[in-house]
Symmetry: C2
Subunit: 294 residues, 2 copies
């Protein structure tokens, strides 16, 4: 028979296509569960359905009325701005009047930008590196470059590079050319160098991936090219964020690797941190900071 | 009872998601039919199935053994390079050993590029403007800038701008923000000016469309922004093609309009021509030039 799981509090991280749930006692993880959500999992993403799925997922946990629940991120784009706090500000605060307790996202007026979920990973990173200042790059379908100073998020810039790479890989004319999960690092580095220095080449080079493929190029080389062109265009646009800065890249292995390689090619060393570990650390920081008040 | 249709020859234009068929006598159109193909129409795009669909579509036409059939374009990406001729060359020639007669696509070695279908529209435009020299811009899911001199295609550059716009409109985080067919011209012009002069901003601005939308911007404004940013990036990369050149834009009304507006914003006037009329004129030119030999 399974061991009883009686959490003191529960942390939930909502992402666009999945969610993670942790049963916690203080900073100790009693159990963790993963839920695939979103269109790609064939699940209904309505909030009520999602809550039902989550309840079903942890139905064997002993949850009492007083068990604190802390959530971050979002399963769907937000419908209003009340859950967002304006930067510059510390990464962690509760959204107003929510139950369960929800960590507020961050918004920036100029240029307009939003994050919801990454603020928790940033808080996690800063809880483990209290006096850290510099730039955090968070990878994902949307990637973010975030300037940190004196424990506050000063400014940030979101890119759709990962989402574009997925759309081009799965649903575009380029799909047959890059139908592989591997990528050639030499092709990546060459393509990256081209769009870092001449970002206008991105638009001109994409269809060339198809043409190169027709002329016999391997799919790993084509995929290396695609990731290189896209990463180079992002680096060119984010130059003010990484040039001469201390950088930490937070992400899963598959998504973080091109960023670390791209920064290394520009002579910029980067610290790596796991997105999942930073999320958990951020939820723990929220429990310490916010949970006690609730 | 329907009138008998007895074509002297038949012209077929294959595109990624549709095909057009003309019953012809000389340059006179006896009848024309349209066929939706591809994934979006729910049809199987296998070549045998496509041929069956086409036969069914024109089953009432009187077709004899000697009826010449001329095809251009492709329903699917090509599998080999034998159907492509190297530029610089005149736009029209038959692919080797094909029956029915198929107009060969064009290929370019450096930078690698391909076209299959647009060469026929170029030939149609040149058949109507015999001494024309300058640059032809062909719109579509893939757009092409083609340098024409002395009746030959000298060089060309393909962009995936239309395909990117469709992917971002239908399948990305931006979908809720731009769920409209209309676009605000002021927003378009402003966004265009930004990426024409600073193309690296494209990567930085896409997610901002979502953020602007969350802050209350209308979907027509958001869509104007998206088309403007993408068009500006294409114009920046294609500058050598349009700067100081005589330009003709060949396309359908919906796709050609942003190009004409974008060029006008750069002070470049452009002649417009209908893609469908140019395809038909190109097939007629092919019948005159190639059909008699068959």
């Amino acid at each position: 028979m399974a061991q009883d799981i009686s959490p003191e509090w529960i942390g939930i991280d909502h992402r666009a296509d999945s969610a993670s749930v942790w049963a916690m006692r203080g900073t100790e993880v009693l159990a963790t569960r993963e839920l695939a959500t979103g269109v790609s999992a064939g699940a209904n993403t309505g909030e009520a359905d999602l809550a039902d799925h989550l309840r079903g997922l942890i139905s064997d946990w002993q949850i009492e009325d007083g068990t604190q629940i802390i959530t971050c991120g979002a399963a769907a784009p937000p419908r209003d701005m009340t859950d967002f706090r304006a930067v510059p500000c510390a990464p962690l605060a509760a959204a107003p009047a929510t139950s369960p307790l929800r960590i507020a996202g961050l918004r920036q007026a100029t240029p307009p930008d939003l994050m919801q979920g990454d603020e928790t990973r940033i808080a996690g990173f800063l809880s483990l590196h209290p006096d850290w200042g510099g730039v955090i790059c968070l990878t994902g379908p949307q990637s973010r470059w975030v300037q940190i100073s004196a424990g506050e998020v000063v400014s940030f810039q979101t890119f759709m590079t990962g989402e574009l790479a997925a759309l081009l890989s799965d649903r575009s004319t380029l799909q047959p050319a890059i139908a592989t999960d591997t990528w050639d690092e030499a092709a990546f580095t060459e393509a990256l160098a081209e769009t870092v220095s001449r970002p206008e080449k991105l638009a001109a080079r994409l269809y060339g991936i198809h043409a190169h493929s027709m002329l016999g190029e391997s799919s790993a080389t084509s995929r290396g090219r695609l990731l290189g062109y896209l990463s180079g265009a992002e680096l060119a646009a984010a130059r003010a964020y990484w040039l001469g800065q201390q950088i930490a890249v937070i992400g899963g292995d598959d998504l973080a690797a091109p960023y670390v390689a791209a920064l290394a090619a520009q002579g910029v060393p980067a610290t790596r941190a796991s997105a999942k570990r930073m999320t958990l650390a951020g939820l723990c920081a929220a429990y310490r900071l916010l949970g006690a008040k609730a």
